[in-house]
Symmetry: C2
């Protein structure tokens, strides 16, 4: 699925942006990079900023036109900060775009296209796209650096992929700690109440204060080990209190 | 709300990362930057990479410890790529973290803390936090550049803020085009069927093909102007067909 998602950079001016974009791609599981008429490529800056993603830079395909870059794709989303007059279907929300693109990528190649740092994509290049997406940003200062835009949309694609039922993604989550039973919690509550009363914190039966503290602990959901720690603490404190 | 969200960078090694992080923040509406013991700051690289966000760099507070940076905060989330043995509540999903942090930021300052490029945060610094968050990434290559991590989490915060009922965010959406009525669509369908039959495309009454094309147009949801264009096209084609 992810391997069917192509990132296309059109006429990138700074080779460093190519490298940083490759790094952004690789952290999010993307590998297919195509460059349309890069101004200066190959270049040591591209390799330097790629850090551990030089393989993506070395394997990047270089072509002469956007049409050539996406001819085999079934969906092409143009990322553009600037509104265009062409009425292409437009995703205002990157996460919606990502879910849609990942769903299409199950079967055929798809592409996400980024334009020039200053000038974005031309109208003819927008015509090579089936959809557009913009990254909602600060209206007073909304232009992300090119490789930052690649990182944000790659992150949304990786998120959509992870959450897709057919991705096969298996997160490594820590083992769930065992929870105490109602009976064990009951013992803890009794112990806590006893200490609150014997210490003089509660002078009359004060169900409200006791309930409030019990609700706090309920919210914290102590596991069995933690409950054990709390019981131990209460026992140590209790040993200094006068007998009931 | 957004103004209550502080970004804290701990012992950043490359001043360029400070500048790029400031730019990332500003594109997502964040302004409060605090630096804990930056290795080299102020520095021309920080200003250069900040692009139009130099105001954030110039206004950044510099302090000697993380505790000092977040003493007034009610929630502090440590962004860490490396798992720690301390059992702090952990957000596996950046969007969940963002919704939680934005909700807290309605009333009091909160902070999102990033560690050193290579070494992340120390255990003592994790103890200054109430929560941790990690950015899910490629298990084979999962380390984002520091300013890229800031951009991703700032984007999630801005998204959570926009979607929060109390944010007052008003997107500028284009005016919705008027839709045709069922009657107008009915005229279009009749016209389309007439042309399909008179052209010889359908030789016998073939309800299935006609239904399929009508379903395609239903999915496209032509607005009134578009329906008008289609009717005009059908009329031009029809003028060349033999009379029924």
């Amino acid at each position: 699925m992810l391997s069917n998602i192509r990132i296309v950079l059109v006429q990138t001016y700074h080779p460093g942006n190519i490298g940083a974009s490759a790094r952004a791609m690789k952290t999010m599981g993307l590998t297919d990079l195509v460059l349309v008429n890069p101004r200066q490529f190959p270049d040591p800056e591209a390799s330097r900023l790629a850090a551990g993603a030089e393989d993506l830079v070395d394997d990047a395909r270089v072509v002469g036109s956007l049409a050539e870059a996406v001819s085999d794709c079934v969906q092409v989303v143009g990322a553009s900060a600037r509104l265009r007059s062409l009425p292409l279907p437009h995703f205002d929300e990157p996460d919606e775009m990502a879910r849609d693109l990942v769903a299409q990528a199950g079967h055929d190649p798809v592409a996400l296209v980024f334009g020039r740092e200053r000038f974005g994509l031309t109208n003819d290049e927008i015509r090579c796209c089936s959809h557009q997406v913009s990254i909602p940003a600060n209206p007073d200062y909304g232009i992300l650096n090119l490789s930052q835009a690649v990182q944000v949309l790659a992150h949304e694609l990786f998120t959509a992929w992870r959450r897709h039922p057919d991705s096969g993604y298996r997160p490594s989550r820590p083992v769930q700690e065992r929870q105490p039973t109602r009976e064990q919690l009951g013992h803890f509550h009794d112990h806590l109440r006893r200490v609150m009363r014997h210490s003089g914190f509660i002078t009359q039966p004060h169900a409200r204060t006791e309930d409030q503290l019990e609700a706090l602990f309920a919210r914290a959901r102590p596991n069995r080990k933690e409950l054990s720690l709390l019981r131990g603490l209460l026992a140590s404190l209790e040993s200094h209190l006068p007998d009931a």
